[in-house]
């Protein structure tokens, strides 16, 4: 089984957003970057599929050199091959998807895994864009994946419940938290990852379809009032909710 995992390198969840000098992106000074948390579930699932069904796992990322750090994390977890589709420029989700899809076309994987979204732009569209560009079926927000006999049966999260989705292979899957427990890289894995090569290619060019013209911080919510302490404050809270906020 030929498995591809596409990963992103994103600011960690502790990051406080500060608008950069261009007014469109964050000021990256002092920001720590990491493997996108949802992509970690995708990497783990790829490794589990390989352990069960055999085959190769290739991890790929599109972006500048700094993405190598995230590719190394995937290698340390046990992925065999890493590929950086190098691009220093600005891309929207469409451009990222197009670059990845071009590469995947020649790779012809049976299974392509993504995280359900990157936690920077929260766009949740790259994986499904890639699937459509490749003419493949896809299942998003997957919390259970069972691959056998050339097809997959998945569970995916929907509002207030789960859906069971069946698909033929090859197919694209977008991992959600709950799909698995990502392994910690072993010391041996970390050491081995340091000497594993990361293949580099230039990402194929793409036009910008959705242009970001400004980044701002949402208006800070002013601190409200402390209604009171302990259960004695409850009647006043209920009154405020009914008469002032009118929410109940």
């Amino acid at each position: 089984m030929n498995i591809a995992v596409c990963v992103n390198h994103v600011p960690d969840t502790e990051t406080k957003v500060k608008v950069g000098a261009d007014g469109k992106t964050i000021d990256s000074a002092g920001v720590n970057y990491m493997l996108n948390p949802y992509d970690e579930f995708a990497v783990e699932e790829a490794l589990k599929l390989k352990e069960k069904l055999g085959g190769d796992v290739t991890v790929m990322s599109l972006g500048p050199d700094s993405h190598k750090e995230t590719l190394r994390k995937a290698l340390a977890m046990g992925v065999g091959k890493a590929l950086l589709l190098k691009d220093e420029g600005v891309r929207d989700s469409y451009g990222i998807a197009k670059g990845l899809a071009e590469e995947l076309k020649s790779m012809k994987p049976d299974v392509v895994l993504f995280g359900k979204q990157s936690i920077d732009y929260d766009d949740a569209q790259v994986g499904t864009l890639v699937a459509e560009m490749l003419g493949l079926p896809s299942v998003a927000v997957v919390v259970k994946l069972d691959v056998h006999d050339g097809k997959a049966v998945c569970e995916r999260e929907i509002e207030g419940g789960h859906e069971t989705v069946e698909t033929t292979l090859p197919a694209v899957f977008l991992a959600q938290k709950g799909l698995n427990e990502p392994r910690y890289p072993s010391l041996k894995g970390i050491m081995a990852a340091k000497s594993k090569p990361i293949e580099e290619k230039s990402a194929s060019p793409a036009e910008i379809r959705v242009e970001t013209t400004a980044l701002s911080k949402p208006a800070a919510k002013g601190a409200g009032k402390i209604v009171g302490t302990d259960k004695e404050a409850v009647p006043e809270l209920v009154r405020l909710l009914r008469e002032e906020a009118k929410v109940i």
């Binding site: 459509e132 949402p218 009171g228 302990d230």
Partner: protein
Amino acid sequence: MKLLAFAEQRDGAFKKSSFEAVQAASRLAGSMGAECVALVIGSGVAGIAAELGQYGATRVLAVDDPKLERHSNTAYAKVIADVAGKEGADVVLMAASQMGKDLAPRVAVKLDAGLAADCVALEADGADLKAKRPVYAGKGLIEVVVKTATKVFTLRPNVFTAVKGEGTATVETVPAGLSDSDFGSVVTGTKVATGRPDVTEADIVISGGRGMKGPEHFNLIEGLADVLGAGVGASRAVVDAGWRPHDEQVGQTGKTVSPTMYVACGISGAVQHLAGMSSSKYIVAINKDKDAPIFQVADYGIVGDVFEVLPELTDHLKKALGKE
């Protein structure tokens, strides 16, 4: 100019976020002197199509086909793109629901369009459209312009209004034009988790954190939620501890919510949690620690023990709502 609004239905009922998308489209069309068409897809749905007239649609297209009884993202996306193409729609809108988020990228590729996802504002800017969308789970907000001739937008649920009016719509049925090969993946079953609304769709969300001290105490959260018809949420800490399922997690690696009221119980307010819920209209916080960061975003706070305050609050609300 023409706008096409896809209105999602499940089991023959529209979702509130579908009404929001239709109304946003019709309002936008009004401000731009454009035409607005709504689209409903499924099996046995022609009968409910006219309901979209109450939310501003004057013309509704119904693609009603037994083949569409089971949802398939590939087939639905093809129908939406085909209809958009035939109608000559310049803009396609839908809710950023789980279904919408799954369909919009496919529709965008088919129409050679750019997609601005999960928008919280969308307005005419001359002949163009300007959208705003949250990034970093709401820690930032970006303005985007879609530069392609055809544009696709998904709208975050619970942000745009859906006010029922007196309007009526004409309904036209349209053939699906699908073959078996269009059904790449198919939904074969659905399981309802709790029967409570999902946190992303609920008007009110009651959330619990580490201050609940154990999974056995979440009956207090659920009790209050059920009095209010609310959804139940949780902080990352309690989801990671296995107290609550991850589909309840609110915050940067969980769901971002915008309910009318968010009640945070025993949640201190880590930056990742605040990112996911601070766009709620009203925030109520109950926490023992008066210095907890949650109070900095709360409209109403009670400094106190959740184990005392929650039962009292549930009782008072039961009385106030006549649900004793």
